[in-house]
């Protein structure tokens, strides 16, 4: 059944693409909120800028790690 195979492959690609986009929305949302509160904290207390930057980098890396999980899943769908 060539049609069923093609349709299922097309649906898989569609799912992977939409999934990657949704992941992007979530990750950018999270990192944006994180960056905004970090910058606000630096504006209130400029002498704590170093510590706030360190904490911001760590939290950003963690959030991006989660986003990359989903990205790997999408890539595995596409490359199969």
């Amino acid at each position: 059944m060539e049609d069923a195979n093609t349709i299922s492959m097309a649906l898989a690609y569609l799912g992977a693409a939409i999934g990657a986009g949704l992941v992007l929305i979530g990750a950018a949302n999270g990192i944006g909120k994180l960056a905004s509160s970090a910058v606000e904290g630096i504006a209130r207390q400029p002498e704590a800028a170093g510590k706030i930057q360190t904490a911001m980098l760590i939290a950003a890396a963690l959030v991006e790690g989660v986003a990359f999980f989903a990205l790997i899943v999408c890539l595995m769908i596409v490359l199969k």
Partner: protein
């Protein structure tokens, strides 16, 4: 066909690279419209599970050589000269080592920082050199950390050291007791122990996937942009190469930053995880 249960056991000869060094370089095959580069993967040994000596293994060897060379020249620079006239690699390494010791290990591990600093430094420098090796343009090396097996091994080392060092520092009884928060009734402990044991596993797995995905994604994006350039094969469309070149340069710069950042994050998180088991805060 195995009448004897041990008839599948064979000798393990080191074939491949030891016989034929030209396997390190690709074969250039010229077809009609385009040329292709094909790497032959030499077998390390012939057995029931074959192992190949791929470009990732070659890059790992290069990373090892660089680390050893840099480390030994730094130590030589420190020992032979007074405080001002130290060698270049000694000063470079010293900046990074001081940064890791003061900002990463001491806040995370407390009084045990001095004892476990070499482990964190090993993680940091290995990941840093591996990530940066993938950014060098001309060589055939890929970054070893863009192979999920390498990052999986690193995460396994972190997981193992979390448990082993935790037991070594606290003793078995205290370690088991500190896994769960204190003051819980007995019936809830049956639920809490599997959940607490799942924590380090998930964190190590996240370490592995984060590093692997960060290294891989940059190269995939670069490959996608280069594919845009190669798709205009045969048509005289040279103007499309300009934005491809621009994006490649920009994304390569971003990747260098990501290489440094991921090395720092890996070292920081592993120090925090190991510190939480070695020096638990009640």
């Amino acid at each position: 066909m195995a009448s004897n249960p041990v008839s599948h056991v064979q000798d393990i000869p080191l074939v491949g690279i030891a016989k034929d060094y030209s396997l390190l370089f690709p074969r250039i095959e010229k077809h009609e419209g385009h040329t292709e580069l094909k790497w032959d993967k030499p077998l390390l040994f012939e057995g029931s599970v074959p192992a190949y000596f791929t470009v990732h293994g070659f890059s790992l060897l290069i990373v090892a050589v660089l680390l050893l060379w840099g480390g030994f020249s730094a130590v030589r620079g420190v020992k032979s000269r007074p405080a001002e006239g130290r060698g270049v690699s000694a000063q470079l390494f010293e900046v990074l080592i001081a940064f890791i010791r003061d900002d990463v290990a001491k806040p995370a591990m407390g009084p045990y920082a001095k004892k476990y600093l070499p482990l964190v430094l090993t993680f940091f420098f290995f990941v840093l050199f591996s990530n940066l090796l993938g950014m060098v343009p001309i060589l055939i090396t890929k970054a070893p950390t863009s192979n999920v097996n390498v990052t999986l091994c690193l995460a396994m080392i972190v997981l193992l050291s979390m448990f082993v060092l935790g037991i070594k520092e606290q003793g078995m009884g205290h370690f088991v007791k500190n896994l769960v928060p204190g003051g819980l009734p007995a019936w809830i402990l049956v639920l809490m122990y599997p959940i607490e044991l799942l924590g380090p596993l998930t964190k190590s797995f996240a370490l592995c996937v984060r590093l692997f995905a960060n290294m891989c994604a940059g190269h995939i994006i670069l490959a996608a942009f280069s594919g845009l350039a190669m798709a205009s094969d045969g048509s005289y469309n040279y103007i499309s190469l300009v934005p491809v070149w621009g994006m490649s340069v920009a994304i390569s710069l971003l990747e260098v930053f990501v290489a440094f950042l991921q090395a720092y994050v890996f070292a920081m998180l592993s120090a925090m995880f190991i510190g939480s088991f070695v020096h638990p805060d009640h």
